[in-house]
Amino acid sequence: MSDLILRMTDIVKEFSGVRALDGVSLDVQRGEIHGICGENGAGKSTLMKVLSGVYPHGSFDGTIEFDGEPAEFRSINDSEHAGIVIIHQELALSPYLSIAENIFLGNERATNGIIDWPETNHQARLLLDRVGLGDKVTTPVLQLGVGKQQLVEIAKALSKNVKLLILDEPTAALNDDDSAHLLDLIRGLRDQGITSIIISHKLSEIRSVADNITVIRDGHTVDGFSMKDKDNSEQRLIRSMVGRPLDNLFPARESHIGDEVLRVENWNAFHPVDTNRQVIHDASFYVRAGEVVGFAGLMGAGRTELAMSLFGHQWGTKISGKVYRHGKEIDTHTVSTAIANGVAYVTEDRKRFGLNLIASVAANVTGANMSEVSSFGVIDLHDEISVAERFRNQLNIKTQSVLREVNTLSGGNQQKVVLSKWLHTEPEILILDEPTRGVDVGAKYEIYGIINDLAAQGKAIVVISSELPELLGVSDRIYTIAEGHITGDIPRAEATQERLMQLMTVGEN
């Protein structure tokens, strides 16, 4: 009964020397729902990009067989033509166009370039009925919630005679009802003969919907089993996902934990666009002097949203809650007041929120605390360069000169520039959001060392990370966050990856 619709064998994909995929194999049977699990950065998305032709044939090693024939896709068009449609986490709909227009975008029902509207709308209606969406086909997409938009995407896929539907984190932004509806729909499509691959962090969901599951870790296929197998437990999944040994990736540190520095009480925040969706629910936590506190959560759990809403209300609306520093309430509702109150936030997205890439290292380093290098609004360029040189030495930033543009630096060194910028504000409370994202192993170790030094100086440090080993390596205590709720507060000694993963994947309480 091994009628395979897809067979990917020994896929290897390198990015400038780094192996994102190191011999991944994936077999998908016709008419099944196949789950793919793995930590962030394990290589799931890269694998799907290889499959869908985003990385064209020839840019990777290994073979792909689709529908019994070798597949050599050079673009997304090729793979769609063959019947593979991928639906990304970020939906790719044009908001001001109607549902029908979106479904047939790039694939218009037209003769000689003139669109046949009755046909377009009729076909769209039929497709919407198949996915169980009752809205009028002329409704602009921006009037739909995320759940319904997801259905429009699927209808669009159906319009292309899809044979293999790939869903990347389809329920990440959905509430429970919408998620349940979507999963039912995918089961229904299976009965109509459409094969699906579903990538998800929500393990219970994967286990309920999938027939077979493949686990990827560090660019390897590490496990694969059928839900009919005897050992199909969530424990097995988690073990396979995280089971990497913790070597000496982290510099040793002695903790000297002092009094409470930061306390946040009952923090709430709503989505800035979808203002009825509460993203952070009553989050309360504290950090002590010299303590490194980890925040573990899956993508979309609200980690960054929590941090950015705290820091100058830079994310979200209808924010409420209290922030205390040494027991006294402080104001963090603008970036300036947050900085003035000793809070610094090092963003997870340094290119977007952290750096002016076309400015010099020196200008970036002093950027958040210009008053320290200026008097009466006039910058002392000498001072500025001295400050930059000091951080360059202190954090070992590798650049020919502090006057060079930041975009000439490597990722790790750019990250150190962002860190320098925030250390220059002389904060007492540091929130580090994915401090080692896109940073090579050597620079990671250095950054962990910097975190240790800062803790030794008595600073209160929050580290947000998707990498559990990293959190276990640097933290004294770890909070878990799931769907905007803080679901656990675990001392380092009691924390294991399995336990954290369980708390991170709990559903709506």
Partner: protein, 399 residues
């Protein structure tokens, strides 16, 4: 120690990359001047009163370009300056003629009005978040309309002589004549040379002290020699005619002041930071809205100065004054190497860009080229300059 050799080699590259654009621009200006001087106008471009005329006639472009470069670095645009020149010109003329204000009071009124109009546009851009393109397009219509309303006859002439002197007068010859040339002008020229050399030498010494990348010594000397020669030559040409025009002095002060603002002040740094990455600036505590607001207040005031110069130059306020000035200013800024997406630009570049436009205007007129063809040529120069810039940046991989 092999490290020394590698850094020595590497040191040369960035400094060259950084300066190619500046030299190219200066070189282009020199080439254009030479072409007109020796070829198209047969020596007329730089003879007699023409250099003086060139400066007085194009002062407005330089003044507006200084304001515009700040707007463009921040990632905005200002289309209203031409109309605003007409409106403020109208008000300043009426203040003196109809309301009998003394000249100094009329000038203050003009500057204040510039600030108010700038605040008005800044408010919409910064706080209501209407794109500057739209706000200033509206301003372009509004101010032109108001200029026509204020000047019922279309013109308000017969302005006080003292006012007209601003754009048509020369600084008094305090030091008398020396071999028939104005001594003050030559002294000012020498002061400029000394200040320039000191400044260049000091900044080079500072770079050397910190072992930071700097230009080849030969390039440094060549640049200094050329610049000194240019300053002295222009001083001589002016001194040989009637001396230093007031507007030249005004331009000198504005260029120095705004170079300082952009390079050395927190406000200037915030403009670059916002243009380079608005989100990052916001996340670093830059009060981006207020920076936007003051950029527009600033260009409002500079436009008022341009209006005063333009009105004084013409000796009358005209409701059609300032037509297309916004385009001259914008073109100068982009010829001067500013980036359309913001974050990049210099006062010196904008000024050289304005001079390129001015020399083209003047040279083509002297050469007797039809006004219609002048526009075609200026358009092509703008396109070529920016295309060169874009290709250059793509090659160096910083686009």
């Amino acid at each position: 120690m092999s490290e020394a050799t590698t850094t020595a080699v590497e040191r040369k590259r960035p400094s060259l990359n950084i300066n190619v654009r500046d030299y190219g621009l200066l070189g282009a200006l020199l080439v254009i001047v030479a072409l007109f001087q020796f070829w198209f106008t047969h020596g007329k471009l730089l003879s007699g009163g023409n250099p003086n005329f060139l400066i007085s006639q194009n002062a407005y472009v330089v003044i507006l370009a200084i304001g515009m470069v700040m707007v463009i670095i921040a990632g905005h645009i200002d289309l209203s300056v031409g109309s605003l020149v007409a409106m403020i010109g109208a008000v300043v003329a009426l203040a003196m003629n109809k309301w009998d204000y003394p000249v100094w009071a009329a000038i203050l009124v003009a500057l204040a009005l510039g600030a108010v109009v700038g605040a008005w546009q800044g408010f919409w851009v910064a706080f209501v978040r209407v794109p500057a393109f739209i706000v200033t397009l509206a301003g372009m219509l509004i101010f032109r309309g108001l200029a026509i309303v204020f000047l019922t006859g279309g013109t308000e002439g017969g302005l006080p002589r003292a006012f007209n002197q601003i754009a048509n007068g020369w600084m008094p010859g305090w030091f008398g004549k020396f071999h028939d040339v104005d001594a003050l002008t030559m002294v000012l020229g020498l002061v400029a040379v000394v200040a320039y050399l000191l400044g260049q030498w000091r900044s080079r010494a500072k770079l050397k002290a910190r072992d930071l990348p700097r230009e080849f010594f030969g390039v440094f000397v060549a640049k200094a020699v050329l610049t000194v020669a240019a300053i002295l030559y222009v001083s001589y040409l002016l001194a040989n005619y009637k001396g230093t025009p007031y507007v030249l002095f005004l331009l000198g002060v504005l260029v120095l002041a705004y170079t300082f603002v952009l390079n050395r002040t927190v406000f200037g740094r915030h403009i670059y930071a916002m243009g380079g990455n608005r989100f990052a600036a916001m996340m670093s505590g830059v009060k981006t809205k207020w920076v936007d607001f003051f950029i527009f207040v600033n260009i409002g005031v500079l436009t008022a100065i341009a209006a005063i110069v333009t009105t004084a130059r013409a000796g009358a306020a005209v409701s059609s004054a300032g037509n297309f000035y916004e385009l001259d200013a914008i073109a100068s800024v982009f010829i001067g190497g500013a980036a359309v997406q913001g974050g990049v630009g210099k006062v010196s570049g904008a000024v050289i860009g304005a001079l390129v436009m001015g020399v083209l205007n003047q040279g083509l007129s002297i050469a007797g080229v039809d006004a219609a063809w002048q526009q075609v040529i200026k358009g092509l120069v703008l396109l070529a300059a920016v295309a060169f810039d874009v290709m250059n940046r793509r090659r160096s991989g910083t686009a």
